[in-house]
Every structure is written in structure tokens, then in C-alpha cells.
């Protein structure tokens, strides 16, 4: 599986390991609460570079999934701003309640979820070509050809006409990744995509994500799998109570965390595996 997954390779960018900065994505003072004192993002600030692979770790309810969902435009924020590729993307104080300001920017974000991602009543092929055809105006022939190429690179070409119910969990998630990639996004978001899989299927999905990383796809990953985080991340971000507590290269975070909160969390998590 060495053929490139991305239709066009991302431009090479210089990789400065210690810099926490970046102008690909800039979150400033982002505030999100569900009311009644349930604050999931508490004036959170974070930068990302175009070749970063951010892995966000932290206890439940620390705002990890919320961050992804906000970036995708699934949920709104009540305060702060988010810039994407140098342009204003989301403004918590704007009238549209903190949803993406520019739909074109939103279409450059792709997301893969933990559960029930694929459309169960459509075949794998239909799942892949629906959005390219209906939203981006590709013809059926063009979209089908593209889908074929993606599936072939994932080794799933034989499943073109199968239905999601006939696929294993790992195959479903790989198809879901392909479906998002069909739209040639600039940023991919992965929300615990292997958490619901049986252990033997986790590797196949993680391999796909590693390959995307090698092709320099910008990604933000939320995962519980610390071993995988160590392998794929260019930067690990530890969030707790809606704030970024600490961030840095995986080698540093996992072996020499600076903050006590980080140490506390890692001790609990890494102790088991």
C-alpha cells in the first residue's frame, strides 16, 4: 500500500520541532459552554502549522471532541476566534453564533467519526460519490473513477458494491476515511476513530492514517491510544478543563512532561499499557 492516497501531494514545509506556533490554524481565546456551568472550552488558544499532526489527549470532557466538532462546523462557540489558512473562519461573537463564516473553507475540512459514519442504505460506491457529485459537481463517471482509485489504494476495491453492513469495523472506517479524502480536504479531523473497533482491526486503520501523515496531510487526532499518538504526532497537546495545559513533541511530552497535571494524567493512562 505505497501508492499515494492524496490526489495531489501537499507542499513540503520546514519542520521546526520545538515551535508551538503556526499560521495554518489559530485558535484564540475560544470559549464554549453548554450552559449551567458546563464549560468545555475555556479561553483555549492553540496554533497549528500546515504540516502538523496534532494529537490531542486528555481526560473525558476536556473539550477534545468539541474542538474537532467546532472546527468542522458541527457546533458553535460563544467567544473567541478561529483563523484557518490565514483567513477568519469562526468568530464566537458574530451573529451566526460561531459557525463557519465561509462555507468554502468548511469544505476544506474533512472529518471521520467514531460510530455509524457510513450511510447504511447506500453501497460503498454510492457513499463515496454522493458528495463529490452533488456538492462539487463531478459527473458520475469521474466520481466513480476517483472512488475506484481510492479503494484500490486501500485494498478495498472488491467492496465497491458492498453495503456497510457487510463490512468489518476496520473496513468501514477505512471507507469513511476514503470518503472524506474524495473531497481533497486541506485538514483531516479524526475523532477517536479506532476506539470502537476490535483490537485486530485497529492497526489497519492506523496504517492508513500513518500513510496520510507521510503524505503531509494536516491532521488533528483525538485518541486514547498513546502508543499510536507517539508514532504519528508531530505535536501532542494535553487538554484539561477546557484549556491547553501543555504541548510539545511526543518524545518530550511522554517522557518528560513539565506540568504536574500532565504527569498525573499520563501516569494513569500509561500505567496500563
Amino acid at each position: 500500500m505505497t501508492a499515494p492516497l492524496l490526489v495531489a501531494a501537499q507542499p513540503q514545509a520546514s519542520f521546526v520541532p520545538d515551535s508551538a506556533g503556526g499560521d495554518f490554524i489559530q485558535l484564540r481565546d475560544v470559549y464554549k459552554s453548554y450552559g449551567e456551568g458546563l464549560v468545555v472550552m475555556d479561553h483555549l488558544s492553540l496554533d497549528m502549522r500546515a504540516d502538523d499532526r496534532l494529537v490531542i489527549i486528555g481526560p473525558s470532557g476536556s473539550g477534545k471532541s468539541s474542538l474537532l466538532r467546532v472546527m468542522m462546523g458541527l457546533e458553535s462557540i460563544q467567544g473567541g476566534t478561529i483563523n484557518f489558512q490565514g483567513q477568519p473562519y469562526i468568530d464566537g461573537n458574530a451573529r451566526n453564533q460561531g459557525k463557519p463564516l465561509d462555507v468554502r473553507l468548511q469544505t476544506q475540512v474533512g472529518m471521520v467519526f467514531q460510530h455509524y459514519t457510513l450511510f447504511p442504505h447506500l453501497s460503498v460506491l454510492s457513499n463515496l460519490i454522493l458528495a463529490p457529485m452533488k456538492v462539487h459537481g463531478l459527473s458520475k463517471a469521474q466520481a466513480t473513477e476517483k472512488a475506484r482509485i481510492f479503494l484500490a489504494r486501500l485494498g478495498l476495491e472488491s467492496k465497491l458494491n458492498a453495503y456497510p453492513s457487510q463490512l468489518s469495523g476496520g473496513q468501514k472506517q477505512r471507507v469513511a476515511i476514503a470518503r472524506a479524502l474524495m473531497l481533497e480536504p486541506k485538514l483531516m479531523l479524526f475523532d477517536e476513530v479506532t476506539s470502537a473497533l476490535d483490537p485486530e482491526m485497529v492497526t489497519e486503520v492506523q496504517n492508513v492514517m500513518m500513510q496520510l501523515a507521510e503524505e503531509k496531510m494536516a491532521m488533528i487526532i483525538v485518541t486514547h491510544d498513546m502508543h499510536f499518538a507517539k508514532n504519528i504526532a508531530s505535536r501532542v497537546v494535553f487538554c484539561a478543563n477546557g484549556k491547553v495545559v501543555e504541548q510539545g513533541p511526543p518524545a518530550q511530552i511522554f517522557t518528560q512532561p513539565k506540568e504536574p497535571r500532565t504527569r498525573e494524567f499520563l501516569e494513569k493512562v500509561l500505567h496500563l499499557g
Binding site: M72, H121, L130, P164
Partner: protein, 221 residues
Amino acid sequence: MQLDFWVVLSYWQVLAKGLALTLAFTVSCAVLGSVCGFLLSLLRLSKSPLIRIPTGLYVELFRGTPLLIQLFWIFFCLPVVFGISVPPYVSVVLALTLYMTAITSETFRGALKSIPSEQHDACTALGVASWNKVFYVIFPQALLRAVPPLLSNVVSLFKESALISSVGIADLMFVGQNISNSTARPVEFLSAVAVIYFLVAFPLTRLVGVIETRMLRRYAY
């Protein structure tokens, strides 16, 4: 007291006619009611309270009152309200259809609600929005999920149709009661009628179960 079940056989033609009428009413009102129920469930998705409140009230009213009184009201009161004479068959079809409409609109609503929110999220993530999303993703799944409960509703309608005997329609129930009265053999004939209803309703109920497991497992997780 002598029970003689063979007597039932000599009346099979009358019973068959009654059954035919029951089935005719059931099928026609089921079809009409399902279509109208579907349209009604669409209306109930509207944001305007001017549409949502009357339609919601309609559904609650027809689910919260006995079908018998709905039947009597339409049968006896409608001609009075409109000042015209309404043929019995029309009243009965109207009553059963209005009832079925209310029930099926709830079925469709339930089916829509049962679609996991992740499906909506996936559409947002792919940029598939509004008309495309509804037509290609949401409604097909809602219709698929609605089929088993819809079939259950039809079986219920089949049973409830026995009420039309109370306004003189010669359905299976009416015929059975008539014969049992005239032959003074209620046990034989009422039991036979029960068996006939059972022989129709039971396989259909089993069919609902089969459809649920086979079809839904394949196309709706």
C-alpha cells in the same frame, strides 16, 4: 350443551364475504392512511406554529380517544354538521383513514428521530446539505426504518376494523355475530371468526419480525 363446529363450514360463503369486506376496508384505509400520515409527518416538521399546533392537536386527539367514538362521531355527527347525508361506507372509510393517518404520522416521526445524529454530522462533514441531504440520506433511511412499524399498524387496523360492525357494516365481525345469533351457536361461530382473524393477523405479525431482522440488518445497521 352440544358443541357442533361442523356447522360453521356450511356458512363458509357468508363468512368469506364478510372477510372480503374487512380486508377491503383494511387495505384501502391502510394505503390512504399511510400516504396521508406521511404527508402529515412532513407538515409536522414545519417551523411555523400555525402548522405545527393544529396538526399536533389532530394527532393527539385521534390517539387519545377511542376509535369507537371517532367512528360514531363521524357516522352520526358529520351529516348533522354538514347538513348532507353521508353514505355509511364513506363514513367508515373516513373514520378509519383519519385514525390511521394519525398513527402513521407518529410512526414516520419516530423513524426520523431514530436516525443516529452521526448521519447528520457526516453530511455536514461532507458538505452535503439541505435538499441533497434530505433526499439521498435522511428520507431513504427514515422510510426503511418505518416499514416494520407501518406493517404493525396495518395489522392493528385489521383488528380495529371489527368496530365497523357496530354501525351495521357487514364485515366479518358483523356476519359472525349475526349467524351466531340466528343459529344460537355463539361458541362455534364466534370462535371460528376469532380463528379467521388470527389466521390473517398472525402470519403478518411474524412477517414484520422477519422484515425487521433481515432487511434492516442489511440496510440500516
